[in-house]
């Protein structure tokens, strides 16, 4: 319990840093970039909306910095991110709510598939280091070094434009279906998600594989694995219950840390597929100088990554007796 509480405290600190950075960045930047938004819509903003933007960005002069900060925090707690400028006058939280499910399912499912696939392949490569799978790693590194979005461009060109197997853009077929829990819409969403998901899996699998392979190579050299071999246990049993089981723990820890990178890459990729998720929203917000939306997206992504990390910590406590032992002391 103490271990978990410590981790929880850490994530709270991280969240606080993100929230505070979000508050100070627009105030630290010189120039009138922020005032520009206000002048973009003279007389169009309701007083309440104007106040929300002011609190979010610190445009208004009234109140001390501390007062602004507390107002900003209390707005955040109530999910009041202000009003989107580019999709005026929709509140930012509504815009976010429409995009979030797409990203969560697409990026979440694809990342989990890539993790398990890459870890499995890494186990095999590390078990027989120098074998054919292991020697194919340099070419996989090349695949991994290709920028996500570039591979996405090629994939769209080949599979969507030339071959026409999959739709080239969008999250669902808006002409024939409307969002809702009906079969047509869901199958349309799945159809649109296959290519982006495939691209995420292909580009990130090599990273997981390489990491797992390196841990696995070290684990295979351990005495307990050799002892297991000397006992004459089957390969399968040695791999699964002796080597991979232990090698998996650092891999899981790495999963939490790498998550930020993976999610970032996936966000950029959404742009290529015009997938109606958070990534596309973020870029549109930047291009439309929609600062309230931009900031809210950053916070949402950060919190998602923090929560995922917390879940991984919980899993680690469950799987790793060493963590539990440390906790008992």
């Amino acid at each position: 319990m103490r271990y978990l509480l410590r981790r929880l405290a850490f994530y709270l600190v991280a969240a606080w840093v993100a929230v505070t950075a979000n508050f100070f960045i627009p105030r630290a930047v010189p120039g009138n970039a922020v005032q520009a938004i206000m002048s973009k819509f003279p007389g169009q903003l309701t007083p309440a909306a104007e106040q929300a933007i002011e609190a979010m960005l610190g445009v208004g002069k009234e109140g001390s910095l501390w007062h602004q900060y507390t107002t900003y925090l209390s707005n955040l707690v109530r999910f009041n991110f202000g009003v989107s400028v580019s999709q005026f006058p929709t509140p930012v939280s509504t815009v976010l709510g429409a995009a979030l499910p797409y990203t969560l399912t697409l990026v979440g499912v694809a990342t989990i598939i890539a993790f398990f696939l890459g870890t499995g392949l890494g186990v095999l490569a590390g078990w027989r280091a120098g074998g054919w799978l292991d020697r194919s790693l340099p070419s996989l590194m090349f695949v991994q070094a290709i920028p996500y979005f570039f591979l996405a461009l090629l994939v769209v060109e080949v599979f969507a434009v030339t071959l026409g197997w999959f739709p080239a853009a969008g999250g669902f077929d808006g002409q024939n279906y409307s969002p809702g829990w009906n079969g047509g819409f869901i199958s349309s969403v799945l159809d649109h998600a296959i290519l982006p998901a495939l691209t995420i899996v292909v580009t990130s699998v090599a990273g997981w594989m390489l990491q797992m392979r390196n841990v696995m190579v070290t684990t295979v050299g351990e005495d307990y694995v050799i002892a297991a071999q000397a006992k004459g246990l089957s390969d399968r049993r040695i791999i699964v219950t002796y080597a991979a089981r232990n090698a998996l723990l650092p891999q899981l820890q790495g999963f939490g840390l790498a998550l930020g990178f993976v999610v970032s890459g996936a966000l950029v990729m959404e742009i290529v597929f015009s997938y109606p998720g958070i990534g596309l929203l973020l870029v549109n917000a930047v291009q439309g100088t929609d600062y309230p939306l931009m900031q809210a997206i950053f916070l949402v992504i950060t919190f998602a990554v923090l929560i995922a990390n917390l879940i991984i910590d919980l899993i680690l406590v469950l799987f790793d007796p060493r963590v539990r032992a440390r906790e008992a002391n």
């Binding site: 070094a145 920028p147 070290t218 295979v220 999610v263 950029v268």
Partner: protein, 331 residues
Amino acid sequence: MKALASLWGRLPGTARAGVVLLGLFVLAAIIGPQVIPYDPNAVTPLTLKPPSAAHLLGTTQTGQDVLSQLLVGIRLTLELGLYVGVLATALSVLVGVTAAFLGGVWDDFLSLLCNVFLVIPALPLLIVMLGYFPQKGQLPSILVLSILGWAWGARVVRAQALTIRNRDFVAASRETGERGWRIILFEIIPNIVSLIAASFVNTVLYAIGASVALAFIGVADVSSWSLGTILYWSQSANSLQLGAWWWFVPPGLAVALIGTGLVLLNTGIDELSNPRLRDARSSTKIAGSRIWPTDPTPVLGMPKLTTRGRLATLVHSFSRSSLLDAPGGEF
């Protein structure tokens, strides 16, 4: 020169491939901008021409020469990677060594800072920060990438510096009354040089990847030619739909190759410093089976003499019992 040659001899094959690959790009970055055939900004009426003798990599939608843009772009992208690599690595060494050396509350605080920076996803924060900066040249990108790129290196450096701090030779120099900064500079840092090198390579990789992605989505300064901005313009001109592969394939390939070179170099450094990873590759082929130094001595059975199909051999090669194969019924 001799020292360099012997280092080259000890490098694993992967690292050598990485060095050669990167060397080519560095060479292109140094002499490229001097020998470019055209001004990369020059607009000509020859729009969207496929590669020809006059334009080796064809032209863009506004008739600009892709090869010239590419050479200038490689220069700019590598420069950015180098600057961010140096700045961020310097920061991570500073933070990591300070935390390890001071210990106590300082260590706790700096480690916490490090972990916070690690767990907050960098790219959205980069986008938000660059969204506010006025877009003039590469400087904002370099600064922001450095500020967000030091944490991983600092963590690794700190862990290693901690173990060195407790070694006898450091205790000895402390007993002789050496000053703190002298111990750090002359006792600790020389022992983590390989680690710093690896962290530098990693940081450059991150910087190039992130800057290309940022430029591609248009939050960097898109008026200068970097690999990312070439991709940005080619994407916004729908070069893909127009079938102008010569416009977007070369810059993408360049980024991928630079990245591969860096990753190869890094695994090479890893293998150089971790004997287990090195041993793992040094298998020898005896009577058709690969034998690894980490394998238990085969005491039973004999080398496999049976013939297997290709697929069966592949599957079998994963099995450790491939070494202990008793000749089966088909023998």
